[in-house]
């Protein structure tokens, strides 16, 4: 490895991890000082506005999944179930309920109590979750309503009558949110500060879109599932900040370097796959390893689309019209995120050629009906339209009680055997 390679390759994961730890340290420090934080979610976090008020921000989806990655989620889930929550609801919610009951105790540091929560309707459980905090902490909650597309494949655009009706509604809510934040924080809103955070998001969005594009190359330069989750953590936690914008500029530089030098994320990239759904966090590394053992790597993932809140669109805010442009950007991006969950077939159809995919892995999970409900039907449609091999495996993102590694491995092994046989047959028929 050259000196340059040593310094650049792997930098993204290292810096991402460091930033992530710094973010949690800042939250812990805030909690120790008795400060509070805004609780937000990955789809439509409104980070640009909240950061313009210099608020501490926490993403409960991320704090919850960290518990699963660290193999201690079951302790939190059981505590919430003892409190009364059903085994059949979202694991993120339950882990967070226990976290709140434990006064923010988390392996990465103490999570501050909320002083406000803002959530979109991109996931209905966001709303139910917000209601839980409203009851537990007596805090103001703000439901930020982003109307999605009304019909499969029919997407209104800026200038269309319906889009403008929706934009007007979103814009009014942004103004109401700002007024509420002034009240909660006791400070005046500064529109230039908003412009600044929006500019950082513009930079990050350009980089994010470029990052996704770079994995079209072969060999792929990152694993969309494992590395991608690190990138997502930074993309959400540092949205609207200079650190976030700089991180992604550096990451793009690293990936472009890898592309230019043919450095892949794996030495044996035999099968290029797309992942659809939410990762299996209770066995996060192992899940990818089972695929890697067959030379399978995830070059694309719908998770990178929806869990980035639609940042994959690369939308650029118009800083001369910040509020109106923010409304437009939120509508377009959050809708994109929703489509990645409800109508990923259209997007995957394009990805098959763009990313030279050999197969698609659908991973519906018990915990998340938003993402999982339509996957079996969506898979049927994609296979009918394209004939691409696919695998549907069910497990969970939080609850190890519904994750059976042996069963998963059996299904995955069979999938690869089929995939290999199919490739061999195709090669044989080409020879004939």
């Amino acid at each position: 490895m050259t000196v340059q390679e040593t310094s650049i390759v792997g930098r993204g994961n290292k810096e991402g991890g460091a930033l992530f730890r710094r973010w949690f340290k800042s939250l812990d420090d805030a909690a120790q000082r008795g400060e509070k934080a805004a609780y937000v979610f990955v789809m439509g976090s409104m980070n640009e506005v909240l950061k313009a008020f210099d608020m501490n921000i926490t993403f409960p989806e991320i704090t919850s999944l960290q518990l699963a990655v660290r193999h201690i989620a079951h302790e939190y889930l059981e505590e919430a179930e003892d409190y009364g929550y059903s085994p059949d609801i979202c694991g993120y919610v339950k882990a967070d309920v226990a976290l709140q009951l434990r006064k923010g105790e988390h392996p990465m540091g103490r999570i501050p109590k909320p002083n406000m929560t803002v959530f979109t309707n991109a996931c209905n459980t966001y709303i139910k979750w917000g209601e839980i905090w409203e009851r537990l902490h007596k805090i103001p909650i703000f439901t930020f309503d982003v109307p999605g597309h009304r019909q499969l494949g029919v997407h209104t655009q800026p200038g269309d009558k319906q889009f403008e009706v929706d934009r007007r509604y979103v814009e009014i809510q942004i103004k109401e949110l700002i007024a509420k934040l002034e009240e909660v924080n006791g400070t005046k809103f500064d529109i230039d500060k908003l412009r600044e955070t929006m500019e950082f998001t513009n930079q990050m969005s350009r980089s994010w879109a470029r990052l996704l594009e770079l994995n079209r190359n072969s060999p792929s330069v990152y694993n969309a599932l494992t590395d991608g989750t690190v990138f997502l953590g930074v993309a959400n936690g540092f949205r609207g900040t200079k650190e976030g914008a700089d991180y992604f500029a550096n990451l793009v530089e690293e990936m472009e370097y890898k592309v230019a030098n043919g450095i892949g994320t794996t030495t044996d990239e035999s099968h290029r796959l797309a992942f659809v759904g939410v990762p299996c966090y209770p066995i996060f590394r192992r899940f990818s390893e089972i695929f890697a053992e067959w030379g399978g790597t995830f070059v694309q993932s719908t998770y990178l689309w929806f869990a980035s809140g639609g940042t994959n669109r690369g939308y650029q805010y118009d800083l001369d019209n910040p509020i109106s442009s923010l409304a437009e950007g939120i509508l377009l991006s959050v809708r994109d995120a929703m489509d990645s969950m409800f109508d990923q077939t259209t997007m995957l159809r394009n990805a098959i050629d763009e990313y030279d995919l050999d197969g698609v892995v659908y991973h519906p999970i018990k915990s998340c009906r938003t993402v999982s409900t339509g996957l079996a039907d969506s898979r049927r449609q994609l296979m009918k339209d394209t004939g691409i091999p696919s695998l549907l495996i069910e497990s969970d993102m939080m609850d190890r009680r519904v994750v059976s590694e042996a069963q998963l491995k059996n299904r995955i092994d069979a999938f690869f055997e089929g995939l290999i046989s199919r490739k061999q047959q195709a090669a044989a028929s080409r020879r004939i």
């Binding site: 409190y83 009364g84 209601e131 309503d145 519906p364 938003t370």
Partner: protein, 390 residues
């Protein structure tokens, strides 16, 4: 709509008990023959999923609005379209359509929950007719909400005009609103009766009378209710030793009629959230000025509550306490459909509020196609006796 042949008239000229039996059988057996009859005579059908839909829009466009709310059926096709961890209503609703038991010209769903918001896409991939989402607002507390909803109704109405081939005037809408106002008033009268003299009407009969309203033209529902409700008033029956309960948890998937019947054997169900979408608007909708605005305004300002609508002014537990108090209920049956995320989450808040207010409750889960009620009957009986003889 007035010149069309009647599609649900077998009850006419029959005694009350027979009329109630016909209504019960139609609902219990998942009999969609009235809807098929409507289509056979050239009528167009709009299927709307739970919870609320402004049926006035479809009616004004000359279509029959039918509430798609699942049914206790064996799944033949839908299982392969969905994952494992889902409520039954989602699957059975699609199955009814895939098996041809119900034929539609348009399907409308709402983003009420994480599972249901997938329905429009799933339905679109399986049927050629338009499948849309009516984006009822999730922020009930913005200045922009009512104007937005008014425009959303307008958008949908344009689509309905396209399908029905009928241009809808403001006058058409006002007429439809007036009819639905009358229908809702009759349902409110039935519920007043449930609260004041619950021994006169069995819970499953009241349920069926409301449910029929989601299947037949509003004019026919009004005719049915205008005959039945006064007849129920006339009944002379003695009050029995049963406790007064509110049933909470049936805002979307519906409990089987047998479950309601079972509870009714030891309790008077004096209020509930059965089919709350059909009773969502709690007062008359204005028929002057802009009718679309009036419908939107009523949805936000004069409406009930459910776990799938957040309104800062209406916490669900406070609303449940109000419902129980207004009905002078002694206890609450807190039920949730299996795998229903909003219902299950709300149960925790309900339990805490009921505990705090020392109101007894009976906690349960149900599924629309469950068929064994022996255990439930014994538990409810014991629960009721504990209260009666405490």
């Amino acid at each position: 709509m007035t010149n069309r042949p009647l599609i649900f008239d077998s009850w006419r000229d029959l005694p009350l008990e027979e009329v109630l039996r016909i209504c019960r059988d139609t609902i219990e057996e998942g009999d969609f023959s009235p809807v098929l009859k409507w289509r056979e005579t050239g009528g167009k059908v709009l299927g709307h999923f739970q919870v609320y839909f402004p049926q006035e829009l479809a009616h004004a466009a000359g279509m029959l609005p039918v509430m798609v709310r699942g049914a206790p059926v064996d799944l033949l096709h839908a299982d392969s379209r969905f994952g494992s961890y889902l409520c039954s209503i989602l699957k059975s609703s699609l199955d009814l359509a895939l098996s041809g038991k119900i034929e539609l010209d348009m399907f409308v769903s709402h983003p009420i929950c994480d599972a249901a918001r997938n329905l429009a896409a799933v339905w679109s991939r399986n049927f050629d007719y338009p499948c849309q989402i009516l984006y009822l607002p999730q922020n009930a507390n913005s200045q922009g909400t009512i104007p937005y909803l008014r425009d959303e109704y307008d958008r949908l109405l344009r689509k309905l005009e396209e399908i029905s081939g009928k241009k809808v005037t403001e006058e058409d809408l006002r007429n439809s609103i007036a009819l639905y106002n009358r229908s809702r008033a009759l349902v409110r009268e039935l519920y007043d009766l449930k609260r004041s003299e619950p021994w006169k009407v069995a819970a499953e009969d009241a349920y069926s009378l409301v449910a029929i309203g989601g299947l037949i033209p509003v004019e026919e529902h009004i005719a049915l209710m205008e005959w039945v409700v006064p007849e129920i008033h006339k009944i002379e029956r003695n009050k029995e030793d049963r406790i007064r309960v509110v049933f909470e948890g049936a805002f979307c998937e519906q409990p089987p009629l047998d479950m309601i019947r079972t509870i009714g054997r030891s309790c008077y169900v004096v209020d509930d959230d059965f089919l709350i979408g059909l009773r969502w608007l709690t007062g008359d909708v204005a028929t002057e000025d802009d009718p679309l605005y009036a419908l939107a305004e009523a949805y936000i300002e004069r409406s009930s509550y459910s776990p799938v609508q957040h309104d800062n002014r209406k916490t669900k537990e406070a609303m449940l306490l109000k419902r129980a108090e207004a009905a002078e209920a002694e206890a609450v049956v807190l039920a949730s459909a299996k795998m229903c995320e909003p219902g299950l989450e709300e149960q925790v808040a309900y339990v805490l509020a009921l505990d705090e207010n020392r109101i007894p409750y009976f906690l349960s889960e149900f599924e629309e196609n469950m068929s064994s009620f022996g255990g439930l009957e014994l538990q409810v009986e014991t629960f009721a006796e504990n209260i009666l003889f405490a």
